[in-house]
Amino acid sequence: MIATAGEALKRTALNAIHRASGAKMVDYCGWDMPVEYSGITREHVAVRTAAGLFDVSHMGEIEVRGPQALALLQHVTSNDASHLQNFQAQYSALMLPNGSAIDDCVVHRFAADHYFICVNAANTDKDYAWVVQCNTFGALVQNVSAQYSQIALQGPRALEIMAKVTEPDPQDLKYYWFRQARCAGVDGILARTGYTGEDGFEFYFPPASSEHLWNTLLDAGKAAGLIPAGLGARNTLRLEAGFALYGHELDEQTTLLEANLGWITKLEKGSFIGRDVLLRQRAEGVAKKLIGFEMIDRAPARDGYPVWIDGKKVGIVTSGSPAPYLKKNIGMAFVPPDSARTGREIQIEIRGRQASARIVSLPFYKRPK
């Protein structure tokens, strides 16, 4: 996650605004990004109770076009893109032959011959290279990341704030659907998606309009309690919501079934990369299973801490943190499948000592309907 020495960090079009606002900046996968503005807890709670505005322009975008676009997507992704209608989006994974994901992603269908994939910042280049390599179908594949800034407006008051500055009214945009929209006078792609466990929107638009859009949204949402939120809160929010983060719950050694992503793994849709391994795993069982846990002892668990069951080291914590809204210390970890029982007590090794935790069902947090 640390950039190569001597290589300049990449900046989003909002970098100057973040720095001017006094945000704490970090090197995130080679990007100079805000980790917090006014404090992770405050930002996290704002997203759960009002709204938060995130700069996620570091995320990558890959376009797939042409009559063979769907054939390529069906081959390289795990979910069934043939079920998508125009302007519908789908959580999916870009697959490797061993049944693991090179990345998780959101596939958007504009038309039968035009798709738009949002991928993780750190993986964009390797994702693009891999999709191009898998493209024996003759689809047109383009890395269009530089053409887009992306902001996420998330929280129970996101809709009312977005509606104030957006045409057409985003009210009737359904979860995991998107449309062409004009937000603060800026034309872009507005999707009812997010990574926080709350209602909200993600807006893709030309980078030149970034500062104007950012300031307009913050002004429009001020009375509703909207504040800027950084990558720190983004991580704790997604953890409470039980969402996987690539490099933590997902990597090139973990199959989708092991990572609880069976629901985006459509083995019956026909051939796709990694399917054989996943079919075998479905029949024979997985090697490890992702679980959620809550600490019983007081110290927080952190990424990388060892997990012990019955006196044996059986796995590691993939994400562990205090949960600012739930006010508990929570985490996710891989354990042997026969140990992955809700309610079971496990031990987390914290600075050489064993601390008790309990396996709980995921997600930790579900928003009230």
Binding site: V35, E36, I40, T41, H44, G232, T236, R298, P300, P322
Partner: protein
């Protein structure tokens, strides 16, 4: 900002020495760097601590930070308030959120620590780096 009667370490702890007992905490700079503090783990009264060695941890939402003792000695008391109110470390790092008190073994150790002026120059340098 940084009380002149305190002495400071490069790891951002402060100590206020009164006769041969030192009160130890973390600096305002340290709490700002950490962000929202949610957990503090400290030794017990009677435990020994050694200069420049870890005596506990303070954890924010984002990070775990080890605490390093400015001096060698025996812990005489521990700030129990931090068990239930770790956020005091953010709101009053130089006062209410003191961490431990230590009976010093060797009072000369404090001669190696920084004064408030030296510490302020030191963090200015750290910020610039």
């Amino acid at each position: 900002m940084y009380p002149p009667e305190f002495l400071y370490t490069k790891d951002h702890e402060w100590i206020q020495v009164d006769e041969s007992v030192g009160t130890i905490g973390i600096t305002d700079y340290a709490q700002k760097e950490l962000g929202d503090v949610v957990f503090v783990e400290l030794p017990k009264a009677g435990d020994h601590v050694a200069a420049a060695e870890s005596f506990g941890t303070v954890e924010s939402v984002k990070a775990v930070s080890e605490l390093f003792s400015p001096v060698t000695g025996e812990v005489t008391s521990v700030n129990g308030k931090l068990n239930n109110n770790p956020e005091l470390v953010n709101s009053d790092p130089h006062g209410d959120a003191w961490l431990i008190r230590v009976q010093l073994t060797d009072r000369d150790e404090i001669d190696k620590l920084m004064t408030a002026d030296e510490y302020e120059a030191y963090i200015k340098q750290e910020k610039a780096d």
